[in-house]
């Protein structure tokens, strides 16, 4: 029979964080956003670098792509998600997440659909160029379209 114990573990974070002084939440968030701003250019450079790699490696211009695994596509898309804070409100990181989802489902369903890949890459490029100028409803519609493409061409997750 399984032996289950419940204990009160020490919450040192609580002890330390509740001490006198400290930053208000608003001030902490403000300072963190200022600190992140310093990384914005580097984030955008990483986004562009990985977008270019995706396009070169998995875009329709590379006839050898059919022989490649999709692992690098997943990794490059993950890098775009990591750096997505560099272009807030563009929908780019959400699009990159959908690329990861496409790869995941392609692996799970043992299938590969290059039309679906092309649509995702084209959408990444559009959102990089114009994502921040689209309305939230437009971005949502674009991203919903990607989910539909993945489900239709590659299958359910």
């Amino acid at each position: 029979m399984s032996n289950v114990r419940f204990i009160r573990a020490p919450n040192k974070l609580a002890e330390l964080a509740r001490g006198k002084g400290g930053l208000s939440a608003g001030e902490a968030v403000k300072r963190a956003n200022v600190a992140l701003e310093r990384l914005k250019d580097a984030s955008i450079a990483i986004i562009d670098e990985n977008l270019a790699l995706i396009d070169q490696t998995y875009g329709p211009g590379n006839p050898d792509r059919v022989n490649l695994s999709l692992d690098s596509l997943y990794d490059n898309a993950s890098r775009i998600i990591d750096a997505g804070g560099g272009l807030p409100g563009s929908g780019l990181e959400e699009c990159a997440r959908k690329v990861c989802e496409l790869v995941d489902r392609s692996r799970a369903n043992h299938t590969r659909d290059w039309d679906a890949v092309d649509v995702h890459i084209a959408t990444l490029k559009v959102l990089r160029a114009q994502g921040q100028s689209l309305t939230a409803a437009q971005r949502k519609s674009v991203l919903k379209g990607l989910s539909d493409v993945t489900t239709k061409r590659v299958g359910e997750g």
Partner: protein, 202 residues
């Protein structure tokens, strides 16, 4: 509006004495994490680019919270979480763990929870989301469960509702604060009916 608004308006968090362990194989993502926690006033942090290095840092002790990427080559953040809960020293075994992950399918969230992580946060890392989770952790009084198959914070967290003063993340979360009763309270008979074991007829 929300808990977050209230949090931003008033609450204070003193993190300068808290030692953060930041783990991510991507140096840029690690920089982002570091900048965010520096902005929160954190002065003690250890940054490492692999789970193996994280294990060494934890073995040295003195870590108060772990923020780890979920997906890393060789050994990922989920495996690291499992190691901390099962194999780290007694003093480090209960350290709060936040898994930060890019592509976050439900299966990964469930996996993180079942390995004993406190929360999972989606990338890109947004300061207000991380700070909110830190507030929650600082107020958390979940019991720790130790069993053969699971070691970590009580997973029945959802039933407890969010911490007081917050509105929660899920649509169905109840408010963290109990207000004045707006309707008559339950009668003793109703309470008894809820509490009394009843014979089940099949």
């Amino acid at each position: 509006m929300t808990s977050l608004r209230r949090m931003l308006d008033g609450d204070k968090l003193k993190l300068e004495g808290v030692h953060f362990l930041l783990v991510d194989d991507n140096p840029h993502a690690l920089d982002i994490m570091a900048q965010v926690v520096l902005g929160f006033g954190v002065r003690n942090m250890t940054k490492v680019e692999s789970a193996a290095a994280a294990r060494q840092a934890i073995a040295r002790g003195g870590i108060d919270i772990v923020l780890t990427d979920g997906q890393m080559p060789e050994e990922n953040g989920y495996q690291l979480t499992r190691w901390i809960r099962h194999e780290a020293s007694e003093s480090m075994r209960y350290v709060p763990i936040l898994i930060i992950t890019g592509h976050t399918p439900q299966s990964d969230v469930t996996l993180g929870r079942d390995l004993g992580a406190n929360f999972t946060i989606a990338k890109p890392l947004v300061p207000r989301v991380l700070l909110q989770r830190l507030f929650w952790l600082s107020q958390e009084d979940r019991q720790f469960v130790l069993s053969d198959t699971y070691k970590g914070p009580d997973r029945r967290f959802k039933r407890l509702g969010p911490p007081s003063g917050t509105d929660g993340r899920r649509e169905g979360d109840l408010k963290g604060e109990v207000g004045e009763a707006s309707e008559p309270n339950l009668s003793q008979a109703q309470i008894d009916a809820l509490m009394k074991p009843a014979k089940v007829v099949l």
